[in-house]
Subunit: 244 residues, 2 copies
Amino acid sequence: MTQNIYDDDTFFAGYGQLDRSRLGLDGAPEWPTLRAMLPDLAGKRVLDLGCGFGWFCRWAAEQGAERVLGIDVSANMLARAQSMAKGEAVVYLRADLEAVTLPRGAFDLVYSSLALHYIVDLEGLLAKVRRALKPGGVLVCSVEHPTMTAPTEPEWVKRPDGRSVWPLDRYLAEGERVTDWLAPGVIKQHRTIETYVALLLGAGFRLTDLREWGPSLEQSAERPDFALGRERPFFMLLGGRLED
Amino acid sequence: MTQNIYDDDTFFAGYGQLDRSRLGLDGAPEWPTLRAMLPDLAGKRVLDLGCGFGWFCRWAAEQGAERVLGIDVSANMLARAQSMAKGEAVVYLRADLEAVTLPRGAFDLVYSSLALHYIVDLEGLLAKVRRALKPGGVLVCSVEHPTMTAPTEPEWVKRPDGRSVWPLDRYLAEGERVTDWLAPGVIKQHRTIETYVALLLGAGFRLTDLREWGPSLEQSAERPDFALGRERPFFMLLGGRLED
């Protein structure tokens, strides 16, 4: 079972202070890239796996999605999502993504932002996603970039000449990684890019997008705290489509 | 124009000592993985871009390929390839891959081992590859893994606890990288995985394989000089297929 760190009070308090929590999609620097990977949502049925505060669900409803289902394991996050609801066509469901049962052939788009790197049985979840999509359905998701999750010590190292380098190791040693981020003992699953792609293809998707997101030069100039993301990408964004 | 480093005498002398030069395909530890990505070659027409000593060309002929064309820019390498020819259905052609003209709709498979990271205009070359393939044709290629080409200083760094880490930086800064490997001033083109995949999809291929090759635990045990490849992969292997 996946750890439910978002219901840890310390983690949740810290998480709530992040730009992406306070400002929503516009507080997530990778959002414009992810958004460009999405199909037109007007009249579509949308599932958001790991919907958190529901920012994407509400946005999808604003884009004219016919129905939006947001699933998250965190009671804390869903309570906040519900409190921000404005009568849109959004339904929230609390469930563990490892165990959830999804309706068959029900969605045009499955979306997931920064949730899948917590999932232990990703192959099982993607098989469920495949069945939950209509023919021609689309999956768009983001995960922490595998070079970010791999290292034994995921902290920038200052070189004698002042450069910061990312100490990559254990890249091919897939499995659990425990880090202290907002709270001690946060558990993520490290997978290689090879594995993410193989799981997607193996689930029957055609790969349509693979992006390694780091800040643009412009974003780096505006936000020096992002700049190191040009040395090593923060996120990997994947897009896949089922055959019609 | 791509640097022709294989006709540098110092480089060529060193390159000729590598296992992959002396022993051929069996001296290349990634070969079993690459081989598993190949279609059946019996009766097929095959093009090898950057064929070097012709090990793959001769192997393809042994597999029953109807015709094999090997192209390389290096006179040194082609002379050696010719000297090892045994009357197989292999033709060698000396040409710069940046400038070569390829016949249209002529091949079932285009193969390229560790050559494409030297190419400046990879988009242009892939467009030519696409046109050179028959409908349903296949591209299988390997390149140095982008985490390997990216760094300012591509040398393992020993940490205080004895671990070796790979000092990743400049990952998103694509372009020329100059390293001293076998000879000073070897020029390669660093590209992200995103870019390799986008170029392949953009050229009309469906992605069928993306492998990040490092030694297996078994290979690491046999060859301690390979073991660091488990910390950071050596190669990326890509497979693509055109629509029928």
